[in-house]
């Protein structure tokens, strides 16, 4: 499959579930995005000290630091609080979505309700060419 040219856009994928990480990484790579992965929130925040991603795909329930903590820290950091965040979670209760929106999340995807193609569509919406 031909790789699309989205390499200018760096995406940080923070997800503890190996298979989801693998699938998303594959799918996003196919779309030509520059992907970096972190397996927990703490690792993700550390990586953001090294580089500023254009978009963060963030899981909520993770070891060490969860998605909300990552968002809270990002919102306090001027260099990070403008980065669009898309939540990919197993849950999707209105109260959770509200909380995430208040912390700066642009979108919320429930993993079982979406497929990878739809995730790409959401990413594209945040990172138009």
């Amino acid at each position: 499959m031909k790789k699309k040219n989205n390499s200018n856009n760096k995406i940080l994928l923070i997800e503890d579930e190996e298979i989801m990480l693998d699938l998303l990484q594959r799918k996003l790579a196919q779309e030509g995005y520059d992907i970096s992965v972190a397996r927990n929130g703490e690792e993700g925040l550390d990586m953001m000290k090294e580089f500023i991603p254009d978009l963060v795909l963030l899981d909520i329930i993770m070891p060490k630091k969860g998605g909300y903590e990552v968002m809270e820290e990002m919102s306090r950091d001027e260099s990070l609080n403008k980065i669009p965040i898309i939540i990919i979670s197993n849950s999707g209760q209105p109260v959770e979505i509200d909380r995430a929106q208040k912390l700066g999340a642009k979108d919320w995807l429930v993993k079982t309700d979406f497929n990878p193609q739809e995730v790409i569509a959401k990413v594209r919406k945040q990172l138009p060419l």
């Binding site: 499959m1 989801m20 329930i61 209105p94 109260v95 993993k111 079982t112 309700d113």
Partner: protein, 545 residues
């Protein structure tokens, strides 16, 4: 000569005197004889006239004479009986003999009752009196015997005795009955007291709290458990109107519940974070008299804890299941979309089927999560003023293909613009329509029809969906809104289905302040109805929470 003459004269005088005396004697004798005859006649007449049976006997007890009354009583003629021993006509022969013998000394004897045997062999009870007859020298020359028929007297006496006996018996029976009644009353009193004590002991030791209100809503009883629940002392509340006890902070919520409705059934009341009770109140009615209200307070803290743990467990499990299901879904999707390289038709078909199975699993998990959220009280919904017809249209359109595949006609005529908009959570309400429509499609045989309609009843709107499907067995209709319920007939025709759709729908309708019900007949079809209050009514409904 003179002497001779004188003597002769004397003799003549003497003879003359003697002749005179003899004549006199003769006359006297004649007089006596006449007197005796008169006396005898008198005696005979008297004897004839006398109603008393009398006979005379000689000292040996042989009957010498009898009167007419004696003849009448015994039936013997004088000639038949005179010369016979007196005891011969009595049953108590020895007693008679002894009595006659005793007369030599006693002169009189009386037998109160002896049995006379008549000529006709009949026995007559008689009283017998004997009086001795003695000559001038005091020697016994015989006896008078008088007999009195006492049969009437005896009968009367016996009747009286019988009556007395009967009356005595009756009195004894009455007394016995009275005593029995008294004993029963005493027994009942004891039993009632025992029952009362037992009831009081039960009430006192009952694990549920009990509060009894009289017909004026005054507290007449609060058992120790109720005292404990509300941290009150019985003496402080008994005799006071429950609605006047708003000064007792722990009772405020209970009073609020009782104010709203007369009859309360299993309303939960959180008294403390570690104490939840269930309140039920019902009227106590004896015959047609209202005695008051019984309030039962059941501690459900443990059940609530277990329920919360169970819900949490299901929620957690469901969440945990979502991750692998999402991974499977995404993997299969990527295969199907060719992200993992080209696949042939056979592979595509198989992966497609695996994908669909996984989707069903996801739907089931989503239903389970919805149920746990309802139970956790986290089933939030956001009402917006919406056109309900469009919501229904959306769901109907998304199921058109499925219905067509099964050759089932779905009819829905969208109401006009004047139909009122209502405050609903669109997403949740779609779920309700979807659940009901999917059930109708699933359980209607090819060629059948499903009709959906909406009606405006000013204060509420009525939704109806009816099908010509298999119906719900009558004996199972009471469980239709229970979790995991599936009709026995539909399990046979469609193995898939969580039995959660109708349960969820009911909860969603309840949360909108509406009501849901159904009518169903096996092999003919089912109609589900629900109402949703219009905006104003819904806002009133929300105020109650």
């Amino acid at each position: 000569m003179l002497l001779c003459n004188g003597n002769l004269k004397m003799i003549e005088e003497k003879v003359s005197k003697k002749i005179v005396s003899r004549e006199t004697l003769k006359k006297e004798l004649q007089g006596v004889k006449e007197d005796l005859n008169d006396l005898e006649g008198y005696m005979r007449d008297l004897s004839l006239f006398l109603p008393l049976a009398v006979c005379t006997i000689n000292p040996a007890g042989i009957i010498v004479n009898i009167n007419k009354a004696f003849e009448r009583m015994t039936g013997y003629q004088t000639l038949e009986i005179v010369g016979e021993p007196l005891e011969g006509i009595f049953f108590e022969k020895e007693l008679l003999k002894k009595t006659i013998i005793s007369i030599g000394q006693e002169e009189r004897a009386h037998l109160r009752e002896v049995a006379l045997t008549t000529k006709k062999e009949e026995k007559i009870p008689v009283a017998l009196s004997i009086a001795a007859r003695k000559d001038d020298k005091g020697s016994l020359i015989g006896c008078f015997v008088a007999l009195t028929d006492i049969s009437s007297e005896k009968k009367l006496r016996e009747g009286l005795e019988k009556e007395v006996e009967d009356r005595t018996g009756e009195l004894q029976n009455s007394r016995r009955a009275l005593m029995n009644i008294l004993e029963d009353v005493e027994e009942s009193r004891k039993r009632a007291e025992e029952e009362r004590n037992k009831t009081l002991a039960i009430i006192k030791n009952f694990s549920d709290g009990l509060i009894v209100l009289d017909f004026e809503k005054k507290v007449s009883l609060a058992n120790p458990q109720a005292e404990k629940f509300f941290n009150i002392a019985s003496k402080d509340v008994v005799g006071k109107n429950i609605f006047d006890l708003t000064g007792v902070p722990t009772l405020v919520n209970l009073i609020d519940i009782l104010k709203k409705e007369d009859k309360v059934f299993r309303r939960e009341l959180v008294l403390d974070k570690n104490l939840t009770i269930e309140v039920s109140a019902s009227s106590m009615i004896l015959g047609s008299i209202a005695l008051g209200t019984l309030i039962i307070l059941h501690d459900i803290t443990r059940e609530k804890t277990i329920e919360a743990m169970k819900t949490e467990f299901v929620s957690l499990s469901a969440h945990q299941l979502r991750t692998p299901l999402a991974a499977i879904k995404w993997s299969l999707q990527m295969f199907l979309e060719g992200d993992m390289g080209e696949i042939n038709e056979g592979q595509k078909d198989l992966i497609g089927k695996a994908y669909q199975s996984n989707e069903r699993m996801i739907a089931l998990i989503n239903d389970l999560l919805d149920v746990t959220r309802i139970e956790e009280g986290k089933y939030l919904f956001k009402p917006t003023l919406s056109d309900f017809g469009s919501v229904i249209n959306f769901v109907v359109n998304s199921h058109k293909e499925e219905a067509k595949r099964k050759n089932i006609k779905v009819v829905f005529k969208k109401p006009g613009d004047k139909f009122p908009k209502i405050l609903i959570d669109v997403e949740k309400m779609r779920l309700v329509i979807q659940n009901l429509l999917e059930n109708a499609i699933k359980y209607t045989l090819p060629g059948g029809q499903i009709s959906i309609s909406l009606k405006d009843y000013k204060k509420e709107i009525l939704f109806e969906i009816s099908d010509t499907g298999v119906g719900i067995p009558k004996d199972q209709q009471g469980r239709i809104f229970s979790k995991f319920f599936r009709g026995s007939n539909v399990i046979r025709m469609e193995t898939e289905g969580s039995g959660l759709g109708v349960f969820l729908s009911k909860n969603i309708i309840d949360a909108h302040g509406g009501k849901i019900w159904f009518e169903s007949e096996e092999k003919k079809g089912t109609a589900f109805y629900f109402t949703i209050p219009v905006k104003k009514e819904f806002e009133e409904f929300l105020k109650e929470f």
